[in-house]
Symmetry: C3
């Protein structure tokens, strides 16, 4: 672990230093557990009570909390970002040793940059191109004709099917599968006939793909994730989906085929988005929400049904089947009352 001065960290994070610029820290820690020599942070009001008694040598926080800080402070308008940058500087991982592990199986036609690292038991197919500083951890499979841009990393146990393309600095977590066949079937009198899936998966730069997330190859054109897309674990991206720059999605999200999602969107956990839709830039989708129509305006969309005590649910949800009937009965009541009022008003 490196050991950095607060002066250096202020520069790295763009924060304003309050206190001793020569003070050095070697690790990040939470406010309540930090020891001298460690850097803590305050990004949520909930943790303000811990600020007073923290033993951290310095704290990253926003201007509104700066006056409360009992020790050195790195004051930032975006303390979460400042923390991300400081933590990255203090926790930098040693790169894997360059070269191909002796147990890896690499096709003779694959081009592997000398600075790349190919881990134990990896299998690299024909005609792959693996650029500088790529790191492929143990037990990964990289199919024929894949291209992996400089600085990308497959952590371990990931699978790229034939033809998958990754930009620079992509990060692929274990169990992820990129480029499996899309789910394309034609029906022949009840029997399903497979439609060959001939497109690819193409990722831009700085794309992160979570553990056990699956991104299917296109049916004919490609499935495309643009620069800066971030996917959590166990997400399903179907064939021919396109996801715009800097869109982020939480775990268990599913996106059906050919849907196009704009840039700067967020999709919360377990939301499902139907196929052949368009979501505009800046659309945000709540957790466990079903998107079944295109969303052409930015904003937050929701259909989460919040949990309630089971008895209460039993009473109320049985009525969902009667909702249209209820609506019609209210309209009839309104009409009846209006007519009665008419009766009452006019003849008497």
């Amino acid at each position: 672990m490196p050991d950095l001065s607060l002066e250096t960290l202020a520069e790295l994070t763009g924060a304003e230093l309050q206190g001793d610029s020569a003070c050095r820290v070697s690790q990040v820690a939470s406010l309540d557990e930090a020891q001298p020599g460690q850097l803590a942070f305050l990004v949520s009001k909930r943790f303000v009570p811990y600020l007073e008694t923290t033993r951290a040598s310095a704290v990253i926080l926003s201007p509104e909390h700066a006056a409360l800080c009992p020790t050195n402070a790195l004051v930032s308008d975006n303390p979460q970002l400042a923390y991300a940058l400081a933590a990255a500087a203090l926790s930098a991982r040693a790169p894997a040793p360059p070269g191909v592990h002796e147990t890896a199986v690499v096709d003779a036609t694959a081009e592997i940059a000398p600075s790349a690292s190919i881990g134990a038991h990896c299998v690299i197919g024909a005609h792959c191109v693996i650029a500088d500083d790529v790191e492929i951890g143990p037990n990964c499979v990289v199919g024929e004709g894949c291209v992996i841009g400089a600085g990308s990393r497959l952590v371990a146990s990931a699978t790229l099917c034939a033809g998958t393309r990754l930009g620079r600095r992509c990060l692929i977590h274990p169990g992820a599968v990129l480029g499996a066949d899309g789910f394309g079937l034609a029906n022949d009198k009840g029997r399903w006939v497979k439609i060959p899936q001939l497109g690819r998966v193409v990722l831009g730069n700085d794309v992160e793909v979570g553990a056990c997330t699956t991104i299917d190859r296109g049916a004919l054109k490609d499935t495309v994730l643009h620069d800066g897309v971030k996917l959590d674990n166990q997400i399903q991206v179907a064939h021919n989906v396109e996801i715009g720059e800097n869109t982020a999605m939480a775990a268990h999200v599913g996106i059906a085929g050919s849907t196009r999602i704009g840039s700067g969107c967020t999709v919360a956990g377990a939301a499902g988005i139907a196929g052949h839709l368009e979501l505009a830039d800046g659309v945000h989708v709540s957790g466990l929400t079903a998107v079944s129509r295109s969303l052409r305006k930015p904003g937050l969309y929701t259909s989460t049904v919040p949990a309630m005590p089971h008895d209460q649910w039993g009473r109320n949800f049985a009525r969902l089947r009667q909702l249209d009937d209820l609506y019609r009965r209210v309209r009839a009541l309104e009409k009846a009352l209006q007519e009665k009022n008419g009766d009452v008003d006019s003849p008497q």
Copy 2:
């Protein structure tokens, strides 16, 4: 890639040829991107505008669009099926070389057909039987006593636990896990005790299993998927489930234990089906729908809650907790109005 005449393709697909039977095509492509020498297709009205200007040498389409086609046409009542067959013929993958890769670990008691291909770093357990033309891609694990029928393929990184049986021409995508223990627990005064899972997973012929889909072994009897079942990615099939012929399910579907699903069913993405239910042949379930009772009649069933702007959701969904109360109040109003009408009608 082969290069086929339209005459051959008409024969293969059962389509009627309109135009030059000697014309040859070597690839499929979309209407808007196709070049001379390529075969395009029109399966959705949305793409009719591209038909007029396509540069494809031939187009697969339905009779209603045949007159609009500016080039050779393969006219079919089921253009999607014709496309599937033509694309398969034009994109046939070279089979993997037969034999066992030198890095694969194969138990001495396993029977591997000479025409089968076992990829790098595979592990094949004792007493497995692997039939003709089976292809097992890199990094797969096939546990003790598995049986894999002729022509089946494990693409890569798939795991078959002990005793799993695959029919002919099955296709198992990366990350899929067949035969892991079902989730069976007995409760001993708050502590969970594992119930041994002693059944198997048994797949018929022509079953496709998507990436990271999991199919658990039966508790005692088997979990069974009949011929022609097609599962997309990240589906969970619990112990002792039975799925009928030619039923297809989209990604993220979950089926709880011992449920029996008929043949010719479809289940859309992220639907959940509770345990110990029966779904008749020809049942169709919409996306994000919860099936908590048996469905004994064919037809489409739905409980998808469609997304709405968050404000609108906030106003309306809070009322779900009051729905039963609202129903009772409407009934009270109806009664009150009826009594009042009675008052009005009779004495006066």
Copy 3:
């Protein structure tokens, strides 16, 4: 397979023996399929009809069915538990041979107990500590600095990222990924910046993790699953989640970051629990339910929306968008009727 007397099984299961204590059985089987020499069980009323004609040599059942049993019986107040214990005794798997497979890649600094078994193509990182009787099946990856307690088993194709700790007798199914990065991002003017994920995954004793389940490492502190937690397949546990003793969750459940779940809870399939919540001990969540607030009282909570025929759904669910309006209209009607009653009551 062993062959045990009913006397021995009665002792093992705490059941009361009714019949021939010297009778021996060698396998468990279902009531309808059991043969002489096999042990069947009755845990659900649904199967009472099979009891009369069973060919089993003995049946595990509850006192209420004991009189109906045509053969030897093991009578237990908790027949499911008795079955679990008997089946475990009768189906005990032979342990894997101790030692490191010749194709495994084990770092020189890893400490592997002599009784542990490391399977083919495993990769074990630096400074790992693997205790007695641990069994790591083929194609697993165990990252740097992992600690695996005595008697734990990774079935196959599982991945433990650096620093993961397992207690004793844990069971990790294929495709599971423990310790991948949590989904932590800071936003820098629209661009996402990764927040380093520096915590670990820590499992207590007797924890079971299903196939393709993912448990993310903590951001700074650890993600913790206490003793006896049981997770089914394809569950997502986000960073810094804490799950209490003997809590069990079914497939496709997702838990967002920093949520704390009590002990003795159950969460049914595909339920989603938002981040930063607290669930009390003894909370039970129904399938496909969204938990978006803390649940501080034990009990069952539900928001499952049950499937209905699609036409019925179409009529009723369109009204969800009008529910607040409907509520207001009912209130207006009540007011109108009250005023009218006032009119009627007073002046006349």
